[in-house]
């Protein structure tokens, strides 16, 4: 399952698994985000290529409006997927400590 919600200080907190079944809910939430959006991924365990599509669509929309998407707390699985897909070149990513 996936949970995505507004956290403190404008941070968007995402937890769980961003698989193909959860993408519509995530996309619907992120479509409302504006400006520079910090996405706390410390509770995000898993992402599939469908989830990458959600991030790509959001990043393109935010960049076009002068904002951007910034991911923090990114675990090893996510880092590998971002690296192999080249998303580490189009997203600002801060690994988990």
């Amino acid at each position: 399952m996936l949970a995505i919600e507004q956290g403190a200080q404008g941070v968007v907190v995402v937890k769980g698994r961003l698989d193909a079944a959860q993408c519509p809910a995530a996309q619907s939430f992120l479509d409302k985000a504006q400006g520079t959006v910090s996405l706390d991924c410390s509770g995000l365990e898993y992402i599939s290529s469908a989830g990458l599509g959600v991030l790509l669509k959001t990043q393109k929309r935010l960049l076009a409006a002068g904002g951007k998407l910034r991911l923090t707390g990114v675990n090893r699985h996510l880092q590998d997927i971002f690296q192999y897909s080249g998303f580490d070149q189009i997203l600002e990513i801060e690994p988990a400590r």
Binding site: A21, Y46, S48, A50, L52, Q59, K60, L63, H77, Y84
Partner: protein, 147 residues
């Protein structure tokens, strides 16, 4: 030891599929370090079957079979009533393209190729069945770089 189950051809089946893999790993004592990669590959292959199996026989389901092997698992996804399509032959995505040229989609098979030890495709004409099998082990080459 292997286990096999049929799943409805819908994205909504994903939680059941992840439950199936997790239970198998626990029951067979397979190292959970590779579970997330196995789930990833199964999701990519299964959702491809959902998306491109629209012309499949009505009511047909996708069969997923997992077998414990030394250091990991072999997984088979079998999709009956479909036309042949060898996913292992699909070219890599252009992951160096600037964001303006990026489009959602096309990354799943590219990523699978980097995450599994091996994969192969077979088409059984008599059953009009696509069979995709992959192997993932801790000692596999992808495990040195992958999750």
């Amino acid at each position: 030891m292997s286990e096999s189950r049929l799943f409805r051809r819908t994205f909504d089946a994903l939680p059941e599929i992840f439950g199936f893999t997790e239970t198998f790993f626990a029951r067979q004592g397979v190292d959970r370090e590779i579970l997330i990669t196995v789930d990833f590959v199964v999701e990519e292959l299964f959702t491809n079957m959902v998306k491109y199996g629209a012309a499949a026989d009505p009511g047909s389901e996708v069969r997923i079979e997992i077998e414990a092997v030394e250091g990991g698992v072999e997984v088979l996804l079998a999709d009956s009533g479909v036309e042949p399509f060898d996913v292992t032959g699909v070219p890599d995505a252009d992951t160096g393209a600037p964001i303006e040229e990026r489009r959602p989609g096309g990354l799943g098979l590219h990523l699978i190729r980097r995450l599994v030890d091996s994969w192969d495709y077979e088409y059984v004409v008599e059953r009009r069945e696509s069979r995709i099998r992959f192997k993932k082990t801790l000692a596999g080459k992808a495990a040195q770089d992958g999750p």
